[in-house]
């Protein structure tokens, strides 16, 4: 309420001053009311406010604009919200009459204001609403050092014959930076009558003047400017300089072509290609090639084929990229022909281009290249064959795999992983038994990533492969393929196995199998398996027990940690940290408190924090548990993690708790952010303590976001109720 009264008082003061100065007789209370409610908080309020401004009429709007001249009031934001809001409002479809009235008011107001920054604001509003009706009131600013640039911008937006004529008229008298602004504006609008005026300025010693003149001439693209722009590019050495002579010569040629002067543009492209044929000019030469390709399209094939054997790799690469834009069956055949004469690197590049563009014409030729003796060519052909042929390429790719090396097999695997088609995995599964070990490993990966459970029938025999890498891949694939139906088979495998890695993989596969049927309780079955397992195999059940998550599994794993050897301890602790629910929290906390082992402590306390995080405890309970963790935490890393979790509780005590760490250099940023995020998320947190905490936080926060964060805290503080809340 206090703030509202202050705002109204402010509005009244402004209004009184305005009335005194201008003799405006608008309804003071209506304007005061509008200003006091700005900015609008939503669309409904905005509509209401704008309707109220409409109700004031043009005179009322002018009165508001006149308030900008009140030099005693520095903060003009209420006025700005009102005028800018209305400027946007009247540009809505159907508001043309209001727009015209607004332009009238802005123009009248503009001439009446003295302060240049206020005038600047009004001109920027004309940039939103102005049409030809705004030109006359802007003309007088086109030779004003401060305002010529914004006024010219408005005329660029209007971009009519009248606005361009106004810019040209002002240009005749303009000097210095104003002249530069006007020339750029006429370049933006592509106003042809300025060409004769600009052509001599291209050779000016003033680089900025030369630059904007070249820019404008390139945009306008009058055929008569060719020699002047060519000379400027020559002077710049056909590469970048601050006048942009070279790049704008290319822009000029592009615009010539767009305007129907293709022959002249081609001539320029060829000139640039010739004159930029030196190492540092390659990017310019590429630009000329692109220009040529864009003009001649499919007909540019000869130039592109020629460019593909250029000495410069960047130029060759560009030629193929441009070729892709205009690829047809006819010119695909020319590229295929080119493969025969190109060096292997270029062959591979052409193949890649044809593959990326899925050139069906090239498919047969690319299949032949699968037999290439050159590795670069062969790998490119594998990739391209898969992309073009999809499932059609499976048979030839399998042949490659059967006789190829690891690189070939890897390339085929990658092609298969992205290959579309319903039969891909079936065909892969059928072929796997005939493949060499290198290929089998890759195909197992394909089946495990893409395969359905029925593919297990081809995986199981490979679990006993004599090739260790095949066996390893096969075991690794189980967790992706098994369902609940394989559980017994997995236990059998588990009981038969003695290999550490196999057992680790089987552990994950058993969990996958159980996850497949969440309606069944597996506790009894697993506990029985644990009971009967050899002592050296029990540790491979801990992760499975963690998945079950019950009291008995917890007891087994806890006991293993308490009385096991180092291997068992490590496995048990890892399982506790992976516990599927929060049941392991107490045990993890107990380990944290009791252990002298630094690594165990770190793992246990972090596991405890995670258990708290995933638990269903109330936020208050979580806060207490995290406070307990903080009491024993040792490193800043651990404490930081606790503060992060504290923040998630969003409760008052957590905010107060974080305040204890505002003076700790290593934790003060995290503490500050915790306090800020909790405080700003709940406006019922206020009072002296909250204010003090937030003010201390402002002193602490730094870094890229620091200033913004401080600003948002200050804003929040300014909006908090005074006094103390009841009941916190």
């Amino acid at each position: 309420m206090k703030k509202l009264l202050l705002s109204l008082a402010l509005a009244f003061n402004i209004l009184t001053a305005a009335v005194a100065q201008n003799g405006v007789t608008s309804d003071i209370s209506r304007i005061g009311s509008i200003l006091s409610k700005m900015p609008a908080q939503d669309a409904v309020q905005f509509e209401t406010q704008m309707n109220a401004v409409t109700g004031l009429g043009e005179d009322g709007l002018l009165t508001i604009i006149s308030m900008f001249s009140d030099e005693t009031k520095k903060d003009k934001s209420k006025l700005e919200y009102t005028i800018n809001g209305y400027a946007t409002y009247v540009t809505k479809s159907g508001n043309e009459e209001l727009r015209k009235k607004t332009v009238n008011a802005l123009c009248k107001g503009l001439s009446a204001l003295n302060d240049k920054e206020s005038k600047f604001f009004i001109i920027t509003q004309l940039e939103i609403v102005g049409k030809d009706d705004a030109i006359s009131c802007l003309q007088s600013y086109l030779n004003d050092e401060r305002l010529a640039d914004p006024a010219a911008r408005v005329l660029v937006r209007i971009n009519s014959a009248a606005s361009n004529a106004a810019l040209l008229q002002a240009l005749q008298q303009a000097q210095g930076s104003v002249r530069i602004s006007l020339i750029e504006a006429l370049g933006d609008t592509r106003y042809t009558p300025v060409v004769q005026f600009l052509q001599p300025l291209v050779s000016s010693e003033d680089k900025n003047l030369a630059k904007v003149s070249i820019y404008a001439l390139a945009n306008i693209a009058d055929p008569s400017s060719e020699k002047i722009l060519s000379d400027a590019a020559q002077k710049a050495g056909f590469t970048y300089d601050i006048t942009h002579a070279t790049s704008n010569y290319i822009v000029y040629a592009q615009n010539l072509a767009s305007n129907g002067h293709q022959a002249q543009a081609v001539k320029i492209a060829e000139e640039i290609m010739r004159k930029s044929n030196f190492d540092k000019g390659v990017h310019t030469r590429i630009a000329a090639l692109k220009l040529l390709a864009d003009i001649q399209k499919e007909q540019s094939i000869a130039a592109l084929l020629n460019a593909s054997v250029d000495k410069h790799p960047e130029y060759r690469a560009a030629a193929l990229k441009f070729a892709a834009d205009y690829l047809t069956p006819a010119n695909s055949r020319l590229w295929i022909k080119k493969i025969k004469t190109a060096d292997p690197g270029m062959q591979a590049a052409i193949i890649t281009m044809l593959g990326d563009n899925k050139s069906k014409t090239a498919f047969t030729a690319i299949l032949k290249l699968l037999k290439s003796n050159n590795k670069q060519v062969k790998l490119a052909a594998i990739k391209a064959a898969g992309k073009i042929g999809q499932q059609e390429s499976l048979k030839p790719l399998h042949k490659v795999m059967k006789k190829g090396d690891e690189q070939d097999a890897e390339a085929v695997k990658n092609a298969l992983l992205i290959m579309k088609g319903d039969d891909v995995t079936d065909i892969v599964a059928r072929s796997i038994s005939d493949m060499p070990g290198i290929a089998q490993v890759k195909l197992i990966t394909v089946l495990s990533r893409r395969g359905e459970p029925d593919k297990l029938q081809v995986i199981y025999p490979l679990l006993t492969s004599k090739d260790a890498s095949v066996r390893k891949a096969a075991f690794g694939s189980l967790k992706y393929l098994v369902t609940k139906d394989q559980l017994n088979k997995l236990f059998t495998l588990f009981n038969e196995s003695s290999d550490y890695n196999d057992l680790m993989e089987l552990q994950d596969a058993i969990i996958t199998s159980m996850k497949d049927d969440k309606s069944t309780s597996y506790d009894a079955l697993i506990l029985q398996q644990v009971e009967s397992a050899a002592s050296n195999k029990k540790m491979f059940y801990y992760k499975i027990l963690a998945y079950l998550g019950g009291e008995k599994p917890l007891q087994i794993v806890s006991d293993a940690f308490n009385s096991g050897d180092e291997k068992n301890k490590a496995a048990a602790l890892r399982a506790l940290t992976l516990w599927t629910n929060s049941n392991a929290a107490d045990k993890l906390f107990a380990i944290s408190k009791e252990t002298n082992n630094v690594a165990y402590f770190n793992e246990a306390i972090k596991g405890y924090i995670k258990a708290v995080s995933i638990s269903a405890y109330t936020q208050g309970q979580k806060f207490t548990m995290l406070s307990n963790a903080m009491a024993i935490a040792k490193t800043s890393d651990q404490k930081d993690l606790i503060l992060r979790e504290m923040e998630k509780t969003k409760i008052y005590p957590a905010m107060i708790f974080a305040g204890k760490y505002l003076d700790d250099p290593e934790l003060q940023q995290r503490a500050g952010i915790t306090i800020m995020n909790i405080a700003l998320s709940n406006k019922s947190f206020y009072g002296k303590t909250v204010r003090e905490l937030l003010n201390r936080t402002i002193l602490v926060l730094k870094g890229r976001d620091g200033e913004f964060q401080k600003q948002s805290i200050r804003k929040h503080l300014s909006e908090l109720p005074e006094g103390e809340p009841a009941g916190i």
Partner: protein, 435 residues
Amino acid sequence: MSDHIPDTFKNTMNPKENNSRREFIKKAAIAATAFTIVPRFVLGGKGYIAPSDRLTKAVIGVGNMGRAHFPYDGTKVVAICDVDRKHLQQAAAMLDKGVKTFSDYRELIQLPEVDIVHIATPPHWHGIMAIDAARAGKDIWCEKPMTLTIGEGKRVIEAVQQHGRIFRVNTWFRFKDDFYGMGTTVKPIKKLVDSGLLGWPLTVNVGRHTGFNWKFFWVGKDHLDPMPVPPELDYESWLGPAPYRPYNPHRVHQTFRGYWDYSGGGLSDMGQHYLDPIQYFLGKDDTNPVSIEIDAPQQHTDAVGTWRRVVYTYADGCKIVLDGEGKDVDVPYIEGPKGKLYPGFRSDIPDLERKLAAFPDPEPQMTDFTEAVKTRQKFALNEENAHRSCNISTIGLIALRLNRSLQFDPVKQEFINDEAANRYINPAMRAPYTI
């Protein structure tokens, strides 16, 4: 809140990604390309630093962000530029003595020894600098958002492609790292969307509940008193193409994001991080939404404000909902007619992961920028798709500035029947700056 700065560095510049000379030569020998270029250091020549296998890099804008990008693997910083002398001095102190320092980027990009220009300035400079760097024959690494306006983005595409350059924007979630609150990379999300298991069209919710923070503290002040420009800052050059406004420290450096002339708050700055992966997995890399609906307080003409909700709709009915207030509780991240996906890849589709496995993976992407530069291959997040993802933020911001919902033509990249909105597409620049 600022956690993503070091992550940016870590995630994109993994020191383990070995780009040693030996590795480079080995890769070059079998790479499926004919275009392996030689880093400019290797070319040697008078005044050049001793031959090296690393690409050379120049960084423009060496405040916090720019400095965080000095040490990424496979490159060496040979030149830096800033319009703030203090920044330049602090940055130079972190680098080899031979590093060249500039206050005018136009001089820096003419250095023949530079391969890559890294643009880490405020966004109102991104477009001009990227275009000029392309015209100077440099490859470009640009901070997000790619550009401030739609018009600049279109010109960046033209300049980069015209001059055969390699370009990337510095966001990476479409190909790397867990994607904010999703608890997964984008790849399986893309695979899921492509599979059709969720049905079509899809609605994607980007808000606090789904793990995204819109950083509303990045707002401006609606009243700034003019203040003297500090002697170390060339304020005219800092403003560059933006309209002249009297100096106040809140306009520059860390707080520039709060002003329309230079940025657009959290939606501009975080928008491309959050929205680019969505464009990617929806398969919309070459298009944009057709309508933008907003719910927001009225915006100030200079200072960026907050918003409550922005809803984008594509021509096929797909939607992106930006939930600014975090009010959408228990909403899925993606919802389709056949199923929903929640953070952590949870879904109401039974046995989702197994069903999904049968589908092909998304096509692999080129995710190593130095490799892309050396072999002249298009980077995963390049000038074209980055422009489109930048557009999403930009069209939302224009709707906010006009206090109304808008219709957009993604082919022409213009608003439909709204001249005022179209005036924001390619606003004139302050002379003598041009693109």
